[in-house]
Structures are given as C-alpha cells and as structure tokens.
C-alpha cells in the first residue's frame, strides 16, 4: 500500500472531493500561490482557479462568517485558519451563527461547512501559536469536532467532514503533517463519531487523540515487552464522542488513563472520566481514573520548557506504571 504524509492525505481528500462536488471550495489566507501556511493546498490554485481556492484578507471573523453564510445557501466551504489559535477571532460566527442556525430556525436551515485548524505545540511558536483548543470547540451543541492522528484517518475523516451537513472543526496537529502512513488509493470514508483501538490491551485503557496517540503507541509497545498490556483508544472524533467504545474498553481493563495535550482545567479528559464514572464501566474500575494533560500554563518559548508543558512519552510511561502497580 502506498505511504503518504498526513499533510498529503489532507490535500488529497480536498482535491478529490472538489473534483467530485463543484459546491466545495477552499477559503482562507495564503492558500493560493503560497500553497497554504503549512503547504497543504500546494498546487490546488492551478487546478481549481482563484474562485474555488479563494484567498482572503487577514479577516478570520469574516472568513468563518462568510463560510457560514455560503453554507447556508448551498455551498460547501472549507475554511482554513492558519493557526488554531486564530479561531478565537472567529468564535462568534462559529458558535453563535453556524452552530445554532439549524436549531433556531426550527430545523429549516443547514450549515455544511468545515473549519480546518492546525494546532498544537512543539514547533517553538510559543503561546499564541501553539494551543490545543478543542475543549472549547466541543462545548457548543451544533458543532462537530474531529482530530485525526494518522494519514489514513485524516483522509477518511476529512471526506466525511466535508460531506457532513453540519459545521465540523477539523483539528490537525502541526507535528503530524510530516508523519507518513499507509493510505489506500481509491475513495474511502471514515464515519465521524467512531473511535479506533490502535493497540489492543488488557491491563489499562488509554483514551487519547492527535499526537498523543503516537506517543501512547510508542509507550504501549515498550511496556508490552514487560508484560504490561496497554490498550490505546484513539477517539478520532471528540464530538460526538464514541462513549460506548470507551465504556467497553474500561470494562475489559478496569483502568483508565486519559491523555491529551490540551490544558488540564476544563480539558476534555474530565468529560471522558465523567462518562466512565456515570456508566456501568464504574463497577469494573480497579483503580482511580487518571488523566495526563497539558499543564495549566501558556506554551513557553524555550524548547525544554515547551516540552515540559505537555505530556511526553516518559510521562505517559510513568503514569501507566503507577496506575497498574496501584500507586494511586
């Protein structure tokens, strides 16, 4: 099977869908000749022209607002925001307009749009260009939030997101862009709202997403040689969350660790833990549920401080060991 990068997978998904459906168009800053800040839309201007690869002024508010308006009248816009941090400038159209139009109008409107958001830390971009804000986005009913961790998932999920009749936030971790993975040729989609067990295990369930999936898998492989069997559950979609998959896994292993890069307080690990403790999985817990998350701090500039601000493989390993040896 061919191997392509996460970036290429996203590019391919957009190109293939734009060929198939003329209502799909990309709107954002520097997506034309420049090829997008992270090079995802390279070459697309030449194929689709300036109307459908619609470069904008620096106007995040209007980009997302226009995407909402166009979606309401039958187009399928994909808005690319340069950094996830800039979605903060566009929260109003996303959360007040796009998320609520269908409900407020008694079910008589649809807003099929995608907002693509490169996020996450590790590139030295510091506090205002490194955030993981999915916990805020998933709080609003009417929005869906997707966060793929592999090239394979990225392509299949983006296709589903574009075809989904609801506003979808598509979170791309910057450090994943260059990661290669096997991606079949030909069309395939991955449904939103379905998690994926990337490593089967029996001693502990690690619920995670994005780049933490990669780190957790590395730890799982290492610990399996010591007889500690780690199950890595990649949520893939944060809203709607595949709660049944989580419950089933915890019933099997009796132990839960949630790992995410987003900041701890108000972070979605709390949501997962609440889901588990309110479910029948509670009766099967043999250890307190734990979470390992970004620290409550803006992302620092210094590379060591930056690494210390979010979970690393060593941290994940130490936490798993502590849980399975009944340290808590």
């Amino acid at each position: 099977m061919p191997e392509i990068t996460y970036r290429e997978a996203i590019h391919d998904a957009m190109v293939e869908e734009m060929r198939r459906d003329e209502n799909v168009f990309l709107i954002g800053e520097d997506i034309g000749t420049y090829g997008g800040a992270f090079g995802v839309s390279a070459g697309m201007l030449a194929e689709f022209g300036p109307d459908r690869i619609r470069e904008t002024p620096i106007s995040e508010l209007a980009i997302v607002g226009a995407a909402a308006g166009a979606a309401m009248v039958g187009m399928k816009p994909i808005a690319e925001l340069m950094f996830m941090d800039f979605v903060l400038l566009a929260l109003e159209p996303l959360m007040n307009q796009a998320a609520k139009a269908r409900y407020m109008f008694g079910g008589k409107a649809t807003v099929p749009m995608v907002v693509r958001l490169p996020g996450g830390s590790g590139t030295g971009a510091a506090a205002q260009h490194s955030q993981s804000l999915e916990s805020i986005l998933m709080h609003i009913p009417g929005i869906k939030v997707v966060a793929p961790s592999t090239a394979y998932d990225a392509k299949g999920l983006l296709l589903s997101a574009i075809r989904d009749p609801n506003p979808v936030c598509f979170v791309e971790h910057k450090l994943l862009y260059k990661v290669k993975g096997e991606v079949p040729e030909g069309e395939y989609t991955i449904p939103l709202g379905v998690a994926d067990i990337k490593h089967v295990g029996s001693d502990i369930t690690v619920v995670t997403s994005g780049i933490m999936v990669q780190k957790s898998l590395a730890v799982a492989k290492k610990l399996s040689q010591e007889g500690i069997s780690v199950e890595v559950l990649d949520l893939r979609t944060l809203r709607p969350m595949d709660t049944q998959a989580i419950i089933n896994s915890v019933k099997k292993t009796g132990r839960l660790l949630v790992v995410h890069e987003a900041v701890q307080t108000g972070g979605w690990a709390g949501e997962v833990m609440a889901v588990v403790s309110s479910s029948e999985a509670f009766d099967y817990l043999d250890a307190p549920m734990r979470r390992l998350t970004g620290k409550d701090v803006p992302i620092p500039y210094n590379r060591f401080l930056e690494a210390a601000a979010v979970p690393q493989e060593d941290d994940i390993e130490a936490e798993i060991r502590a849980i399975v040896s009944n340290k808590y």
């Binding site: 904008t56 607002g65 166009a70 309401m72 269908r102 109008f105 008694g106 009417g142």
Partner: protein, 343 residues
C-alpha cells in the same frame, strides 16, 4: 434633541406622489398598497407591544414602530428570490417582504406553528425557504453571512443579490469592516442597507461613531454609498431599487444609509432615559413616515378619510386574527427539545 439636516441627504424630498410614481413606474394601486403595508406594520408592532404588556411573550422584543418607510420602501424594491439578512429589529422588514403575520405572532408566543417552531423567538425569525436568512441576535451578525451569501451567488452565477440590513450600532463592529473589505475586493452582489435610527441601545450615533454619515466609511473601501431620508418611502424605494440593480450587475457592493427614528425603546427593558419625551413626540408628529405619506396621498386624492379608516380597520382585523391564530396554536412538545441540533 436629534433632528436631521435634510440638505445632507442624497435624495430629493418627495412632494408630489403622482409625479414621483410616474418617474418610478409605480401604479396608484401600488402606492396605496405601500401605505396599507406601513399601517399593517405599525399596528403589528403596537399589538406586539400589547401582547408583551399582557405577559404573553417570554423574553423581549425590539420594535420598529417609526421605521415603516425603510421597511416598505425596501420590501417593494427588491426582487423576490433575493436573499435577505436582517437585524433584530426586523419585524417591519419581514412583513414588507411578504411574511405571514400569523406565523410571526405564533413565533413570538413560542408556538409550534411559528416560523421557527417556537425555537427562535422575535430575534431569530427566519423563512429560509423564501430566502429570508433570518433576523440575527448578534449586532452585525448578518454582515459576515452576507459576505458568504454574496460569494455563493457569484460562484453559482445566479442573478440574485443579498440585502443585508443592519443598524447604526453595527457599523462600529469589527465585522462591518471585514465584510465591506471582502465584498469590495471580490465585487460581491451585496446591498448594504444601514438603517440609522440614531441610537444604538442608548448611545446616540454622534457620540460613538467617528466619521458619519456611514456612507463615507463605505467610500473608504471604494464602495458607492448613499445617504437618504429613510422616512420618505418613495425615496427609499427609488434608492434601493437603483442600488439593487447596481449590485446585481456585477459592479460590486452598494451601500445605502437611511435615516429614520424609533419610537419604542431599544427593547422591553428600555425606559427611554437617554432621550426626551419632547424628542419622541416631535418625530411621532412631524416626521412620522405614515403621516407624511398619508398627507401626500390625500393631496393627490388617492385616499380619503373613509378609505383611511377602512384600511386601518382591515389591517387591525388581520392583526387581531394573527393573535387569535397564535393563541390557539399548540406549544411545542417538550420531548422534542433536542431536535434539530444536528442535521
């Protein structure tokens, strides 16, 4: 006290309806119809106020009594099929564009038969299938959607325009600038109508807006702009119709600022402390759009005291019926509270 300087307007004041209507190609019937619609809006707003005072409306309302000429002039000037985006004081515009007052009243009372099945209320009334993309609870909310609708029209190459109506307050929101800039660079078919009723919530326009009239701000983006007497219904009709044609032609967006005045407070919590009773009375008597048009129609013998009473009676009945319809309509089923969050 706020008055306006008529010499600053781009329009000539309508003094003779027969001459003006010939100029604009309007029949006498249409003139009387315009008058009838303005009366309908005024009576509807007064009834909405009454329903509120009786405690039957949950929440609040933003009434547009005093702004009927802008609504009717605009509603008659645009083409059916054009997209409409409104602000939260939009009952008048909605009625002038042909909305069913029964469904409007039902929506205010939160009933299942309302335009939004009771889920939206006064601030979010919409009729998406008729290309009315709704009133918006966020000041300036429609300005961003308009950019997207204009973009879609351009990409689909239909002959429509999008009319986005907003107030003097919205002209100071960031989105005003992002939207106008975007519309200008892409020549989007957008008609920006700024309904300047001289107050945001309590802030007088002059106090909070650097550089008025707002058409000058449009000029900063290279967008042609006009500043007109919004209480002269035929002037409104003329300028909106021309602006719509220009926007439709692909030459790019057009900006019209219509000066008007509102009688009721901003919302139902407004005690009108920021303006005097004198001021309100002046506008209600001297500059009232319905009274002005009525005078002109009387002079032209297109109506008389009898027909005026008849029209008022008829419209009153229509409004009363809307209340009856709304009251007899069912509440939504509580079990359905989670419906329509996702498609």
């Amino acid at each position: 006290m706020t008055t306006w300087k008529k010499e600053e307007f781009d329009n000539f004041e309508t003094t003779d309806v027969l001459v003006k209507s010939k100029e604009l190609g309007l029949s006498q019937e249409q003139l009387v119809d315009m008058y009838r619609t303005m009366v309908k809006i005024r009576l509807f707003e007064e009834m909405a106020d009454k329903q509120y005072a009786l405690g039957k409306v949950h929440g609040t309302m933003h009434l547009s009594a005093g702004q009927e000429a802008v609504a009717v002039g605009t509603g008659f000037a645009i083409t059916k099929g054009d997209y409409l985006l409104n602000h939260h004081r939009g009952h008048g515009h909605f009625i002038a564009s042909g909305a069913d007052v029964n469904k409007m009243m039902a929506e205010f009372l939160g009933k299942e038969t309302g335009y939004c099945r009771g889920r939206g209320g006064s601030m979010h009334i919409a009729d998406v299938t008729a290309n009315n993309l709704g009133a918006n609870g966020i000041v300036g909310g429609g300005l961003q959607l308009a950019a997207g609708v204009g973009l879609a029209i351009q990409m689909k190459k239909t002959e429509q325009i999008v009319l986005t109506i907003f107030g003097d307050g919205a002209a100071n929101e960031g989105i005003f600038h992002e939207s106008l800039n975007m519309a200008a660079i892409w020549d989007l078919p957008i008609l920006y109508l700024c309904e300047n009723n001289q107050y945001g919530m309590s802030a007088n326009v002059a106090r909070v807006s650097a550089k008025t009239p707002f058409k000058d701000r449009a000029a900063a983006y290279g967008i042609p702009g006009y500043y007109i007497d919004g209480n002269d219904v035929l002037a409104v009709y003329e300028f909106i119709r021309n602006a719509a044609e220009n926007a439709r032609s692909g030459k790019g967006p057009v900006f019209v600022e219509a000066q008007t005045y509102r009688y009721f407070g901003h919302s139902k919590s407004d005690r009108n402390l920021y303006r005097t009773k004198e001021e309100i009375d002046y506008w209600k008597s001297v500059e009232d759009p319905i009274i002005r048009f009525e005078k002109l129609l009387l002079t032209a013998n297109l109506i008389n005291d009898q027909s005026i009473s008849k029209i008022k009676e008829e419209m009153s009945e229509v409004i009363d019926e809307s209340v009856t319809f709304a009251e007899n309509s069912p509440e939504p089923d509580v079990k359905d509270v989670m419906e329509w969050v996702y498609a």
